[in-house]
């Protein structure tokens, strides 16, 4: 394998790129569509309105370079967004994201949460059973991993999509990537919560999960409100978002930390 020649070539612009013919097409239509088909080059985030139209050319779906724009964040940016998601006050998350929403937070926060729920769920179940029945032995239930994965991934992928389509149907301007980003970061508060739920006192667990669930739901609701701008129709959606997040919190408590 002669890898050294690959190593020295400057190839970041070639990662997953499609041949020049397609680029010329996009260049020709540049004036018309205002840079919509820019998925082949990492020139920065596309403009808001053209994100959805640019899927005419589906070849961009299979090349990595059309997704690097969603991962264009540094460590300090991610940490900043994480910290801001812990304080539900102030609905300025979407301003903070600005033109640079990232999917890194969504993917790795959900994955960490799945792992935490599976691991600490087993520990906590063991601890609670030990309190009531001294003779229980530790057993690792692998089904927790499946349940955690299905629950968390399903929630964090489907709920933003549902809201996106609903808002689009009602005529409001919505961006799926920003919704995914926001919902992903809203789950980050459950990670230390999972650790705290190890405490085998039932009443304390309920208090912890309710506090965390409320904080997370407030975060989601306030940001959604400030993004869309209040109006009567959409109040139902805010309440729905709040309730869904609370439902997730209750589900975490009931299934993994019974």
């Amino acid at each position: 394998m002669d890898e050294s020649s690959y190593w020295n070539l400057p190839s970041s612009h070639l990662l997953g790129s499609v041949p020049a013919v397609v680029n010329e097409e996009s260049e020709a239509s540049y004036g018309r569509r205002g840079g919509g088909v820019r998925g082949y080059q990492t020139l920065g985030p596309p403009t808001e309105g053209f994100e959805q139209q640019s899927q005419n050319n589906w070849k961009g779906v299979f090349s990595i370079s059309s997704y690097t724009q969603y991962f264009d964040v540094d460590t300090d940016v991610v940490v900043n967004r994480l910290i801001s998601s812990f304080y539900p006050a102030g609905g300025d998350f979407f301003n903070k994201i600005g033109a640079n929403p990232d999917l890194y937070g969504l993917i790795w926060i959900t994955t960490t949460l799945v792992f935490m729920l599976a691991a600490f769920g087993n520990c906590a179940t063991y601890l609670i059973q030990k309190r009531t029945d001294r003779t229980t032995t530790w057993s690792f239930d692998v089904g927790y991993v499946n349940a955690a994965a299905c629950g968390i991934y399903g929630y964090s992928l489907v709920v933003p999509v549902a809201f996106y389509f609903l808002l689009r149907y009602l005529g409001s301007n919505a961006s799926l990537i920003r919704f995914w980003c926001m919902w992903g970061y809203s789950l980050s508060i459950f990670i230390p919560t999972a650790f705290l739920l190890l405490i085998p006192v039932e009443i304390l667990r309920w208090i912890i999960i309710l506090v965390a669930g409320t904080a997370s739901s407030c975060f989601v609701t306030l940001n959604l409100t400030s993004y869309i701008g209040g109006s009567n129709d959409l109040r139902m959606m805010m309440i729905a978002a709040f309730l869904l997040q609370m439902a997730l919190a209750i589900f975490i408590k009931v299934w993994f930390f019974p």
Binding site: S12, V73, S139
Partner: protein
């Protein structure tokens, strides 16, 4: 015969037997040296269709010095195209001499192939995992990557975990295997998406080799059953794995994003370590 191809001068008289031998050896050349050597088919009658299945089994002698007028042109093309460089990293059983094509690896004994692959796994392990003061730049390490090593390590880890599980053994194996295999792919994609420079399969290979310390830890945990000892062993194995994977991953991305690329690696090894401790 010589006048039909007037630009060549026949050196030796020919007979049909050496023609066939020559053509066979030249076609073997083209089979082994790939598209670099093009045989001009000047004399249609004497060029049999290149069905390589007939000629694979021959041991290739160097092209005989006897030439005819028609095959002279073919011979001229052979020295013009230099023999291809041998595949990198072959052990001594494949000797790349400068004259003639390298020996055919399809016809060597299976034991040779197995020994060569095992030797490659061991040498890759030494490069990647073991502390080595002469470790060359880890970004360029593992030129000779392979996927056998990672495959063995992942399967071994799955089997070890499944063995020590008391219930739901097949589900444990499935979770372990899926976690490791999908995890390696996702980690590589993560680095690529963050704008890093790595080669996909080389990274898969490297992440697989870095599982070796966890394999050793899982083996020891299978034999000893004390929880505290398990925790200590797994922590040591985890530290070793992360130490092995760290330079490669961190050199692949922009320094501002180093932590973003390393955190998922840590997460994956941590979850595997937890599985090792927890499964009993």
């Amino acid at each position: 015969m010589s006048n039909s191809h007037s630009d060549t001068i026949p050196l030796h008289p020919s007979n049909s037997q050496s023609d066939i031998d020559e053509i066979r050896s030249l076609i073997d050349d083209s089979v082994h040296s790939g598209p670099a050597v093009v045989l001009p088919a000047r004399h249609p009658a004497s060029t049999p269709p290149p069905s390589s299945s007939h000629f694979i089994s021959s041991n290739i002698p160097p092209p005989p010095p006897v030439s005819s007028s028609s095959s002279l042109q073919k011979l001229q093309s052979v020295p013009a195209a230099p023999p291809p460089p041998p595949p990198v990293g072959n052990s001594s059983s494949i000797v790349a001499n400068g004259f003639g094509p390298p020996p055919n690896t399809l016809t060597e004994p299976v034991l040779d192939t197995v020994k060569r692959d095992l030797w490659r796994i061991v040498s890759n392990l030494k490069l990647v995992v073991f502390p080595n003061p002469f470790r060359e730049d880890p970004g360029k390490a593992l030129r000779d990557w392979d996927l056998w090593g990672p495959f063995f390590f992942i399967v071994f880890l799955g089997v070890a975990l499944s063995w020590s599980a008391s219930v739901k053994k097949s589900q444990v194996f499935a979770v372990a295997f899926a976690l490791l295999a999908a995890g390696a792919v996702i980690l590589t994609l993560n680095v690529l998406l963050l704008g890093g420079h790595i080669i996909f399969f080389q990274s898969l290979s490297l992440l697989g080799y870095c599982l070796f310390p966890l394999d050793v830890g899982a083996l020891i945990c299978m034999l000893k059953d004390n929880v505290v000892a398990k925790v200590i062993i797994v922590c040591l194995a985890l530290a070793w794995s992360s130490w092995a994977a760290y330079p490669f991953m961190s050199s692949a991305v922009n320094p501002n994003r180093k932590a973003l690329a390393l955190y998922p690696v840590l997460l994956m090894y941590l979850s595997v370590g937890f599985l090792i401790i927890a499964i009993d």
